[in-house]
């Protein structure tokens, strides 16, 4: 009985930490894909770049891990700005802008790390530093640190998205014509949105790298699908229609998605199979509306291409 409770607690606490950390990434995904209606694939590069930057700054430059984490966020913001620039100023489609960035960033990440990975095990991370003050166990510490970053991001974004600039940004994804019609620069909104989103994604990358004690150039592969899965779960459960519920849906969706993954691993699933499982999960979620339409005998429009 005690064993089972331990396992349950462990699953819950792991999911809690991961839900908070990856919730930041899901918010980044939500901001571009849903709020801005800008399908930004940069995250496949900016997520490992967050980890690479934080690790390189901690190991090679011997920065304080908190400063290194801040550095990772700034690098992520820059990546987002470049994606936004390619789209708004060079007029390349959002999808292709993100693909170009994601491919290009792979090489940049190898350069940042001077190799394909950096182990962090002998170096203090934000978790170690927080542990010196808080003195919690490993899992409690992970939740506390991720929770602190999540809370900070939650408060900042809730405030920002209700300001005049934030409002114009939220309207951009819904009705660009109207936003320009009331005198707001939609290009600027895309730039700001991509910058914030990729900053959040790089933050997740740096936290994950520091928690797991290493960073790897391939840790971004497929991250977009996990973000999508979390966003779908969050949207289904919270039906977000305002800023606060939207942010909570991102954390809640990540928590549940991560719990499913943790349970799957516990049940003996190979970590290598997880991406297929995630893809199939997303595919099922995406085709539910189609199946509902077909069973009701409704007309189904041709598939969208973009």
């Amino acid at each position: 009985m005690g064993d089972k409770l331990d396992i349950l607690l462990n699953i819950l606490s792991v999911s809690c930490y991961e839900g908070l950390a990856y919730g930041l990434l899901t918010i980044g995904f939500f901001l571009t894909f849903r709020v801005l209606d800008f399908p930004d694939l940069t995250m496949e590069g900016s997520f490992p770049m967050g980890g690479a930057t934080a690790a390189a700054l901690i190991v090679y430059a011997e920065w304080n891990p908190f400063l290194a984490t801040l550095g990772a966020v700034i690098i992520g913001v820059l990546a987002g700005l470049i994606t936004g620039f390619i789209n708004t100023k060079l007029k390349v489609t959002a999808l292709l802008s993100g693909i170009l960035m994601m491919v290009g960033l792979y090489s940049v990440n190898l350069r940042i790390m001077s190799g394909s990975n950096i182990p962090l095990l002998r170096h203090d991370t934000v978790f170690d530093l927080a542990g010196q003050v808080l003195g919690l166990g490993k899992m409690g510490l992970a939740i506390a640190v991720a929770g602190a970053f999540a809370l900070l991001a939650f408060l900042l974004l809730t405030w920002f998205l209700h300001t005049e600039i934030g409002l114009a940004l939220r309207a951009s994804g819904d009705n660009e014509q109207m936003v320009r019609g009331v005198g707001a620069d939609t290009d600027k909104n895309i730039l700001i949105g991509c910058a914030i989103a990729n900053g959040m994604i790089a933050l997740t990358g740096s936290l994950v790298a520091q928690y797991q004690g290493f960073t790897d150039v391939s840790m971004g592969i497929g991250i977009i699908v996990t973000a999508l899965a979390s966003a779908i779960i969050g949207t289904a459960l919270f039906r977000p229609n305002r800023v606060i519920t939207m942010l909570l849906a991102c954390f809640g969706g990540s928590f549940i998605y991560r719990m499913i993954i943790t349970v799957a691993l516990r049940l003996g699933m190979s970590p290598g199979d997880l991406r297929l499982i995630t893809s199939v999960m997303v595919l099922i979620a995406l085709t539910i509306p189609l199946i509902q339409k077909l069973t009701r005998g409704e007309w189904v429009p041709p598939a969208p291409r973009l």
Partner: protein, 275 residues
């Protein structure tokens, strides 16, 4: 003061616009328009299909620039090559499609706040505060639709007519130099269209905003405003002041059109209505 009044709010000089130039699809949408619109004018614009009415409004709103040589001045400022969002400092717009003028995911007060910042620098301050809220309520009350009690409702829950009425308030709340109405009642059912048209006249008269209104409804074009412009193939072919148009009927207008253009009047919506 008289100096300010004598300056036209809108001045178009040699404005031309060709779509797909140099291809088989080349269309001359605006073919050399020179016009001045005085402060306080309410101009109705009519014309057959493809006359260039909407293109003219789009040019004035800065959706695209006119061809080289053409100039657009608003309140004496050269706005010819300003980006669309910078034009918006001078112009408020209402589109034909009620969904274009408002953001459905935002609340009524958030939409109004977006419009309230027209022509001002958007800042990192809360978009809604108590002062603004009471200002928005005051602006919505005259509509008589009860929207002032639903400030925090998402706009997506409003009907087309309500959204169009809200668009009107949004287009005028920051007192732009020019109000551009692009067939803004054409997509509404007849009763709602009548209500929104009445609200339009009330707002324009109360705020004394210089207005350009494209319409298919000849009754309204004759009844509303103090000036009527008829367009054909990208040119202004008829320009009537209040006195001249008050004496006209729809059939007068159609024969005036056929005389001025040497063409048959072709507008499916108008002919259906005029029977």
């Amino acid at each position: 003061m008289s100096n300010v009044n004598s300056q036209p709010v809108l001045k178009l000089d040699g404005v031309r616009k060709t779509f797909s130039p140099g291809t088989v699809d080349e269309v001359v949408a605006i073919d050399g328009v020179n016009q001045e619109v005085k402060a306080g004018d309410f101009v109705t614009i009519i014309g057959s299909n493809g006359a260039g009415k909407s293109t003219l409004l789009n040019l004035i709103a800065g959706m695209f620039p006119p061809e080289k040589g053409g100039k657009i001045h608003i309140n004496g400022q050269d706005v010819t090559n300003l980006k669309e969002y910078k034009h918006a400092a001078y112009t408020g717009r209402v589109w034909q499609d009620p969904s274009v003028g408002t953001a459905k995911i935002l609340t009524i007060e958030e939409n109004l706040s977006l419009a309230f910042s027209r022509g001002k620098r958007r800042k990192l301050i809360h978009a809604i505060n108590r002062n603004r809220r009471s200002l928005f309520k005051e602006a919505l009350k005259p509509l008589g639709l009860g929207l002032e009690d639903r400030l925090t409702c998402p706009v997506g829950t409003l009907s087309g007519g309500q959204r169009q009425a809200l668009s009107l308030v949004m287009a005028t709340i920051s007192q732009p130099a020019l109000l551009l109405l692009d067939e803004h009642i054409a997509a509404l059912d007849p009763t709602t269209a009548k209500t929104v048209m009445k609200l339009t006249s009330e707002i324009v008269n109360r705020e004394k905003i210089t207005t350009l209104m494209v319409t298919h409804d000849m009754d309204i074009a004759l009844e509303v405003g103090n000036r009527l412009i008829m367009m054909h193939k990208g040119k202004v072919i008829l320009d009537l002041n209040r006195k001249a148009k008050s004496a006209l009927t729809i059939s007068d207008l159609i024969s005036a059109f056929e005389k001025a253009s040497g063409d048959k009047f072709a507008d499916d919506k108008v002919l259906l209505k005029a029977d």
